[in-house]
């Protein structure tokens, strides 16, 4: 075993893991306000990537495409909330699970019809010529993924901590009834959380597309791993997802290198099963304390 190969595997796996973490972070945002998540989040990633690619194809410059793609993702998030989640939450039912899956399927077929089934390359001005850092090959493109993940999470956290609306977001997460008594509309806050979650998903799509190409199924494996990360870290674990994402990404690439590429998906699933069996609230999650 060569230490440099291991280091290389860990670094490139960890970068992939950051994308899982980013999508898992999007799950956390909506879970915080409404205890619901969008099971069609992978389709949001994919649709936003396709939309961003279309923007590039019609001649929009890369750095203008990014905010355009993010806005599109936010709009899709709002649509999921309005057309699915809200209907179920109003009746205090768990129907949002099925509704978000259905909306996801709808998004999937729309993408196939609009953009076709083929995987397409996603052009980027960021170079993929490897740099050598301490014997590890890393491309500026990979570094841009890490920067993008932390930038968007940092922005959302800044919003939550430094604006009154962000604090209201936290208030609804902490105690929905009490927040309503302050004049904070829980419905609007939940909308906001779905918008932010959609924006985060779009960012994941834009960051990962140049590496994986864009196609209708691009996010199906991604989303499963994001789920594993969200559940293993805990849906209320905050930045715990980053750590778990990095660990899972690194484990995956080590597994596929040393055991076989067919086993790439195994660590995520094993971790998911372990977490559900041993720590359903997640490694970093707060245990639910029921007060009588």
């Amino acid at each position: 075993m060569n230490i440099e190969i291991i280091a290389q595997m860990v670094v490139s796996g960890a970068l992939m893991g950051l994308v899982y973490a980013l999508i898992a972070y999007g799950f956390q945002l909506t879970y915080a306000t409404s205890k619901s998540i969008n099971f069609g989040q992978g389709e949001l990633v994919m649709l936003s990537a396709f939309f961003s690619l279309t923007l590039l194809n019609i001649g929009v410059p890369y750095w203008l495409m990014v905010p355009g793609g993010l806005l599109f993702g936010a709009a899709l998030g709002l649509l999921v909330e309005r057309a699915g989640v809200r209907l179920a939450l109003q009746q205090k039912s768990e129907g949002w699970i099925l509704l978000t899956i259905i909306l996801g399927l709808l998004g999937f077929s729309s993408a196939e019809n609009i953009w076709g089934r083929d995987d397409r390359p996603f052009p980027t001005p960021i170079s993929s010529d490897a740099l050598h850092v301490f014997g590890i090959n890393i491309t500026p493109l990979e570094i841009s993924v890490a920067i993008g993940v932390f930038a968007i999470m940092g922005l959302v956290e800044l919003f939550k901590r430094n604006t009154l609306l962000g604090k209201a977001f936290e208030a609804v997460s902490a105690d929905r009834d009490a927040a309503e008594l302050m004049g904070i509309s829980a419905t609007r806050t939940i909308m906001l959380s779905y918008g932010l979650s959609g924006m985060v998903a779009a960012m994941a799509g834009i960051l990962i597309s140049p590496i994986t190409t864009v196609g209708p199924t691009m996010a199906s494996a991604l989303i499963l791993k994001a789920f594993a990360v969200a559940v293993v870290a805990g849906l209320d674990s905050g930045f715990g997802v980053v750590l778990v994402g990095i660990v899972l990404g690194a484990l995956e690439s080590l597994t596929s290198f040393y055991i076989g590429s067919g086993w790439r998906e195994a660590p995520g699933l094993v971790l998911l099963i372990l977490a559900l069996a041993v720590r359903p609230n997640g490694v970093f999650g707060k245990a639910t304390i029921r007060k009588v």
Binding site: T163, L164, L165, K167, A168, E170, A171, A174, D175, D177, A178, A179, E180, L181, M182, G183, I184, S185, A186
Partner: protein, 238 residues
């Protein structure tokens, strides 16, 4: 200021309130007393929109408020400090206070500056909160959390404050402190509807009082009148 007429409300199919009527005039402290399960807290919840009344009317400063959501009722000037205090545990004391004024403040930037004056006033009334302004509200003692719940309601500069069981679960010394605060709010001209288990203390600060039984107002009057009422004396003030 607050006029409630023939209010009916309940949870699911079980009706808890069978026609409650009460009236809180501007600047008055009105007490709502009664046994456990009489419907005091449900009355508060139906007024503030936490539950939808099935019938009856709630007039806040002449405006019909029944049937609106809690958030909208809060925005037209009603602040409800609910039973169990319900402070935002993970947020700091000061963030809790700022959120109390949510509907009056800009939602993105400059909200702190705009709330400064009101914050000063509230900190003057509750120096303990000033000491703990940066601390997570969930780490405060029960008494401090109650102070915060009252202060948070004041931050909205509401027309009426509903105060539900402010003494619940507190040590006797702290209960005294809570009633001192209520007295000071009264002196400052704040309009208050107060639900209390400690009927005696409640009647000492109130201008007028209602006694609830089985989801209805059984007796009403000034504290002096209620103190002379044999039934009330025996049941609640004995």
């Amino acid at each position: 200021m607050l006029k409630v007429e023939n209010l009916h409300a309940g949870y699911g199919s079980s009706e808890v309130l069978n026609g409650v009527s009460l009236h809180v005039k501007p600047g008055q402290v009105v007490a709502l007393i009664g046994a456990n399960g009489a419907g005091k807290t449900t009355t508060m919840r139906a007024i503030s929109g936490m539950i939808r009344p099935t019938s009856g009317s709630v007039l806040l400063d002449g405006k019909a408020a029944q049937g609106m959501g809690a958030a909208r009722i809060a925005r037209i000037g009603l602040a409800h400090a609910p039973e169990g205090r319900k402070v935002f545990g993970p947020l700091s004391v000061e963030d809790n206070l700022l959120l109390g004024a949510f509907s009056r403040l800009p939602h993105f930037f400059g909200f702190h500056r705009k709330a400064e004056e009101e914050l000063q006033r509230v900190y003057e009334l509750f120096p303990r909160l000033l000491e703990r302004r940066g601390q997570a509200a969930g780490t405060l003692s029960g008494g401090e959390q109650q102070m915060l719940a009252i202060a948070r309601a004041l931050m909205a500069k509401p027309k009426v404050i509903l105060l539900d069981e402010p003494s619940m679960g507190l040590a006797p010394v702290i209960v005294q402190e809570v009633f001192n605060i209520i007295r000071r709010l009264k002196d400052a001209g704040i309009t208050l509807l107060l639900v209390e288990q400690f009927a005696k203390s409640a009647l000492e600060v109130a201008d007028y009082a209602y006694v609830m039984e089985h989801g209805q107002i059984a007796v009403e009057g000034t504290p002096a009148e209620l103190n002379k009422n044999d039934r009330v004396l025996a049941a609640y003030l004995g």
